[in-house]
Symmetry: C2
Subunit: 352 residues, 2 copies
Amino acid sequence: MHGGNIITQAKKYNIGIDEIIDFSANLNPLGFPNNLTQLIIKNIKFITNYPDVEASELKNSLSEYINVKPENIIVANGSCELIYLLSRLLSTQNVLIPSPTFTEYERAFRNRTKLIGLTDNNFSLSMNKVMDTLKDMQIVFLCNPNNPTGGLWPKEEILRLAKQVMVIVDEAFMDFIENKESVAKEAATIDNLFVIRSLTKIFAIPGLRIGYGIGTQKTIETLSAIQPPWSVNSIAQIVATYLVKNKDFVKETITLVEKERNFLFNCLSQINYLTPYPSVANFILVKLNNFTSTILTDMLGKRGILIRDCSDFAFLDDSFIRIAVKTRVENSKLIKELKKYDNKNSSFTTIG
Amino acid sequence: MHGGNIITQAKKYNIGIDEIIDFSANLNPLGFPNNLTQLIIKNIKFITNYPDVEASELKNSLSEYINVKPENIIVANGSCELIYLLSRLLSTQNVLIPSPTFTEYERAFRNRTKLIGLTDNNFSLSMNKVMDTLKDMQIVFLCNPNNPTGGLWPKEEILRLAKQVMVIVDEAFMDFIENKESVAKEAATIDNLFVIRSLTKIFAIPGLRIGYGIGTQKTIETLSAIQPPWSVNSIAQIVATYLVKNKDFVKETITLVEKERNFLFNCLSQINYLTPYPSVANFILVKLNNFTSTILTDMLGKRGILIRDCSDFAFLDDSFIRIAVKTRVENSKLIKELKKYDNKNSSFTTIG
């Protein structure tokens, strides 16, 4: 079960969507930029035209945003479409997936996957372990920063790995941090490297579906040849072209997320039944010592607070949850609620 | 080159998008229903939520619209996504494609296709010819009504064919006619039959991307298992759920298209250098006797009128164009312009 099922959850708990605080989807806590609504209203008329099949304006904007040429960019109906296109392009190769990680890599590559657990040392990422397991594998799929653990693969180690096998790096959350470990620019020139990006998380627009990929011109052309035409809808193209010019919004987000992640991590650490794992991203993996994830998810759900039950991730079980970093007001509400279930803090709950 | 590149064409001819009359895209001449703009404005806030991954409300609405159960329906990012999903599902089979027809079937199935020409008797469709060519073919792809020729495959003959091979029927234009030849209901129970539908044409919303398919529950489940999650964006789901309840709009369209197709056909027949082919659909294939399609397309383009140059269709050449049926005012403008190039009617051009 993916996070971000707010409509389903609102029905399940009989709570209005506006009253729900959603920590289950790893989206920008600021929401989307304010002026986006006006931009969409102005451009609704374009739904009666086919989207630009080449997405030229969008590619030009992305080109400036990430500083690679338009011919090294492919745009897609969310980054998920790219994951499935890559599975079709690399249709005979086997894929190594350091896990736990985003579950769609395994679903897309089906019975050609091998999962290795990154469960040592608090889920810290070990490239040596990946290197030791490469046998018979032609592709390695890395999520960087890694969802749901929040760890970061160093750029240097990714480039070392790409000398041996094809490496696909999903940088869906890279915009939330100072992205010095991004290999987006390198992917434009290294045949063995492909980077997946998304605008869904950083601009909080999962409903619009817009992702993109960076690779060598040859890889981009081969992928484009097997992609259905008009994959990115008109509204998404117009909105995304505008959004990636908002560098200030991204900077503001990075500052906020770092501050709030630290606040949230410290508060979670002080709750006896919770063990949060260090994260560089806009979400935190948490181990539960007293509850199952199912029970805690349901208890919070009834209070209008959604978290991500992590029991369906490989190498995790029903003692793990994932919490998105949100604004101070929202984070404080979550912490207050979580503290109520802490035996050692029962004095707080009676006071609160 | 697909039709419907209005933005590119507007730039090419340096004409404002609002001044262009687009006969190159086979969309509803009425445009989209009036109240759609307000519906979208009201629902913009949902772009910050993930689309319903099951698209339950949309499937329920479609279920009522076409009278098959929700479990026999799959929704997709335009009908093109379905064509490519089918190519992946049926990854080893060979496909027979009666042509000229929509070019994406061939592109999706790549080097597993065999094209047979329906060029006899003014492009009338011959199931006997298809039957005679079946050898080594496990799938037949039919477009019904057929784009760009406007012919109709009889339901009875499609069902006869489905007793021998897998038949995929693209009914993207079926909503424009009294759809007594549709096999949508049959597709829900016959394993060898799959129907592709689209809301793009009938509701004039190519920018939103929304198509659907009808098959047996087993086929739908297998297709869904290889489809990326969240394929249909939030706005498309909300809009489509509403649109398919507008049965009056569809009826009004059918009446208008029939009347205007007859008007357009008669007018085109009276122009000496044009030979229109009989059509049941909302477009007409026309043979040029004096001009190449490139020259005529360019001459009209400069006047703000877009038509579909058909030279890239298999079995056609640069003596064919396709014209969408539009409203009386627009159709009359096209005819007036076309008459100017008619030598035998040169007297009209000096008067007009």
